[in-house]
C-alpha cells in the first residue's frame, strides 16, 4: 500500500517535472505511455527485451554460479581470501570500459562478450558479500557442527550459508542491478543491440518519450529480479518469525 502511495507521488512529481523542465527533456507520463504502446505494437520493445534479457540472464546467472563458490572459498580458506581479496577489490574498482578492448579481442562482439561484461560487473557484489557473510559465520555454531562430525560441505550447506543468507541476498540483488547496467554498457560497446541499442538510438535522435520507455523497462526488470530474490529470501527465512504451531 505504502508502495502504491509512493508510486503515485512519483508520478505526480514526474508530471510536474515534465511540464517545468524546458525543451522536452522530460516527456510527460502520457507521452511515455503512448510511446510504450507504439513500441510494443511495432514489436521493437519485445525484440530488444528478448536480446537484453538473454544477455542479462546468462551474465547474472553465471555471476551467481561463480560468485558464491568463490566467495565461500575466499571466506573459508584464510590464505586464499587474504591473497585474493585486495585483487578482487582492485578489479571491482576498475572501470568496465577499460576491459572492453581485451574483451573484444578475446570474445568478439557477440553474446559471449556481452555475457562476460555483465558477469564481470555482477559477480563483484556476489563474491564480496558472500565472502563477508562467510567470515561473519557464527563460530559457536560451526564448532557445534564440527563436533557432530559434519564435513566441510555439510557445514557450509547447513550452517555457514544459511547464516550468510542475508549477505548473499543483498549481494545477488546488487549484482542484479549492476548486471542490468552492464547489460546496457555491453550492448553499447560491443555489437549494438537490445535495450542498450534502443537507448542509444532514442538518445541520439532525441526521442525522449521512447527513451524513457527503455529506461523504465530497465528499472522494471531490476524490480522484478530483486523482488524475486526477496521472495526467495522470505521463504528461506521463515524461521525468523515463527508462527506457533
Amino acid at each position: 500500500m505504502a508502495r502504491i502511495g509512493f508510486l503515485v507521488l512519483l508520478l505526480v512529481l514526474w508530471t510536474w517535472a515534465s511540464q517545468s523542465v524546458p525543451r522536452g527533456i522530460i516527456p510527460s507520463p502520457v507521452a511515455t505511455l503512448e510511446a510504450a504502446q507504439r513500441l510494443w505494437a511495432a514489436g521493437r520493445l519485445q525484440a530488444a527485451l528478448g536480446d537484453s534479457l538473454t544477455v542479462f540472464a546468462s551474465g547474472f546467472g553465471l555471476a551467481a554460479l561463480v560468485g558464491i563458490p568463490v566467495g565461500v572459498l575466499m571466506g573459508s580458506i584464510r590464505l586464499l581470501g587474504r591473497a585474493l581479496d585486495v585483487f578482487v577489490y582492485a578489479l571491482a574498482a576498475t572501470p568496465r570500459v577499460a576491459f572492453i578492448p581485451l574483451v573484444i579481442l578475446l570474445l568478439g562482439l557477440g553474446l559471449e562478450a556481452k555475457t562476460f561484461i555483465v558477469f564481470l560487473g555482477a559477480v563483484m557484489p556476489v563474491i564480496l558479500n558472500t565472502y563477508a557473510g562467510v567470515q561473519d559465520a557464527d563460530a559457536e555454531l560451526v564448532e557445534m557442527a564440527r563436533s557432530t562430525g559434519a564435513g566441510q560441505a555439510r557445514i557450509y550447506a547447513h550452517v555457514v550459508l544459511p547464516g550468510a543468507l542475508p549477505f548473499l541476498v543483498v549481494g545477488l540483488r546488487l549484482g542484479a542491478t549492476i548486471g542490468l547496467i552492464n547489460t546496457v554498457v555491453a550492448e553499447l560497446y560491443t555489437a549494438v543491440r537490445g535495450l542498450g541499442g534502443l537507448l542509444a538510438l532514442y538518445g541520439n535522435t532525441f526521442r525522449m518519450a521512447e527513451y524513457f520507455v527503455i529506461v523504465l523497462t530497465l528499472s522494471l526488470i531490476g524490480v522484478v529480479v530483486t523482488e524475486g530474490l526477496r521472495l526467495v529470501e522470505l521463504r528461506l527465512s521463515r524461521w525468523r518469525n515463527p508462527a506457533s504451531r
Binding site: 522536452g24 579481442l105 549494438v192
Partner: protein, 317 residues
C-alpha cells in the same frame, strides 16, 4: 564571463577541426576581442545537453543531430559556422582485403544502424561498386571501439577518421580501401557545425561574431601556409610525428573554411541527404532557416571580406 566553446575532442585533433584549439593557442580570439574557454565533452548528445543546460555558449556538433532536434521542433539552436565541414573519413579494412571488391560478404562496422555515419559509408561503398546489401553490418558505437574491433579481427572493415588511423599502434596492419578524398567525393556532405542557442545570439552577438572572425582568420592563415598548421600542431601535440603532420597538412590544403564553412548549396545538399537516412524516417525535413543562421557570419565577412582566391569554401547564399 568568458565565452565557453564546447568541443567533443579530448585534445587538439589531427583534423582541420583543430583550428579551434589552434586559434586559442595562436591568440586569434584575443585579437578578435573575445575571451574563450573550452569545455570538453565526449560526444555530440552531451554537447547538446550542455548547451541546453546553459553550460556553454557555442558547441561543435554533428549536423544530423542538429537537424533531428530541429525536425522534432524542440530546439532554438542555430548553426553559425563550420570550422571543419567534413571530417576526413576513410574506409579501412583488415589485412588480406586489398580492394573494395574484396569486401563482399565481409563484416563492416558502423556506429549505429541508421546513423549518419552508416548512411554515409553505405553511399560511399555503393558508389565504389560494392553490393552493400551483401555486407554484414555490425553496429559498434564509439569510433575507437570500431578500430579496436578491426585490430582484434572481430570485424573486417570500418569507417574511421584520418586522425584515428594515424594514432593506431600499428597503422600498417590495416589497408585503406578508400582514402579521405575519395570518401568526400562520394558523399560531399557537411558533418559538423558550430551551433549557438538563440538566446546567446540575442544577448552576446558581438562575442559570437568575434569567435567566428577569429576562426575564419585562423583558417585563412592555415590555408595560405600549410606548414604553419603543421608547426602549430607540433606545439599542441608533441606526441605526434612531425612527418605525419606535414603529410596531413598537404592533405588538408583544400579543407579550410576560409569563408566560415556555411554555404547554402552544400547545406541544402546535406539536408536532402540526411533526410534519406533511416533515422529520419517519418520526420519532416526542417527548413534551413530552422537550424542555420547566416547572419553573424555574413556580418563578419562584410567586415573582413570574402576570400575567393583559393577556390575552396566558395560563398553560396
Amino acid at each position: 564571463d568568458p565565452f565557453r566553446l564546447i568541443v567533443s575532442d579530448l585534445e587538439t585533433p589531427l583534423v582541420p577541426n583543430s583550428v579551434m584549439e589552434l586559434a586559442q593557442q595562436g591568440g586569434y580570439f584575443e585579437r578578435a576581442g573575445v575571451e574563450v574557454t573550452f569545455v570538453r565533452v565526449q560526444q555530440t548528445p552531451l554537447a547538446i545537453a550542455a548547451l541546453q543546460a546553459g553550460e556553454g555558449e557555442m558547441a561543435n556538433i554533428s549536423v544530423d543531430a542538429l537537424m533531428q532536434l530541429a525536425a522534432r521542433g524542440g530546439t532554438d539552436l542555430r548553426a553559425v559556422l563550420s570550422p571543419n565541414k567534413s571530417l576526413p573519413f576513410l574506409i579501412a579494412a583488415a589485412e588480406g582485403i586489398e580492394t573494395v571488391a574484396d569486401l563482399e560478404g565481409r563484416s563492416f562496422g558502423v556506429g549505429r544502424l541508421g546513423s549518419l555515419d552508416h548512411s554515409l559509408s553505405m553511399t560511399v561503398l555503393q558508389r565504389a561498386g560494392v553490393a552493400v546489401d551483401r555486407l554484414d553490418i555490425v553496429s559498434l558505437g564509439q569510433p575507437n571501439v570500431r578500430a579496436q574491433a578491426l585490430l582484434a579481427g572481430q570485424i573486417e572493415a570500418t569507417t574511421m577518421s584520418i586522425g584515428t588511423l594515424i594514432s593506431l599502434p600499428d597503422p600498417e596492419a590495416v589497408n585503406v580501401l578508400l582514402d579521405a578524398d575519395a570518401y568526400y567525393a562520394a558523399a560531399p556532405v557537411v558533418t559538423k557545425v558550430n551551433a549557438v542557442p538563440q538566446a546567446v545570439l540575442d544577448t552576446r552577438r558581438a562575442e559570437v561574431e568575434a569567435v567566428i572572425e577569429a576562426l575564419v582568420l585562423a583558417s585563412r592563415d592555415f590555408a595560405a601556409d600549410g606548414a604553419s598548421w603543421a608547426s602549430a600542431m607540433a606545439e599542441a601535440r608533441p606526441d605526434v610525428d612531425r612527418d605525419d603532420l606535414d603529410q596531413l597538412a598537404t592533405l588538408y590544403a583544400q579543407s579550410w573554411s576560409v569563408n566560415g564553412g556555411l554555404q547554402r548549396d552544400e547545406l541544402e545538399y546535406t539536408a536532402s541527404w540526411v533526410a534519406q537516412s533511416e533515422d529520419f524516417q517519418g520526420l519532416d525535413l526542417p527548413s534551413l532557416e530552422a537550424w542555420v543562421d547566416f547572419g553573424p557570419l555574413d556580418a563578419v565577412l562584410a567586415r573582413i571580406g570574402v576570400d575567393d582566391s583559393a577556390g575552396m569554401d566558395s560563398l553560396s547564399r
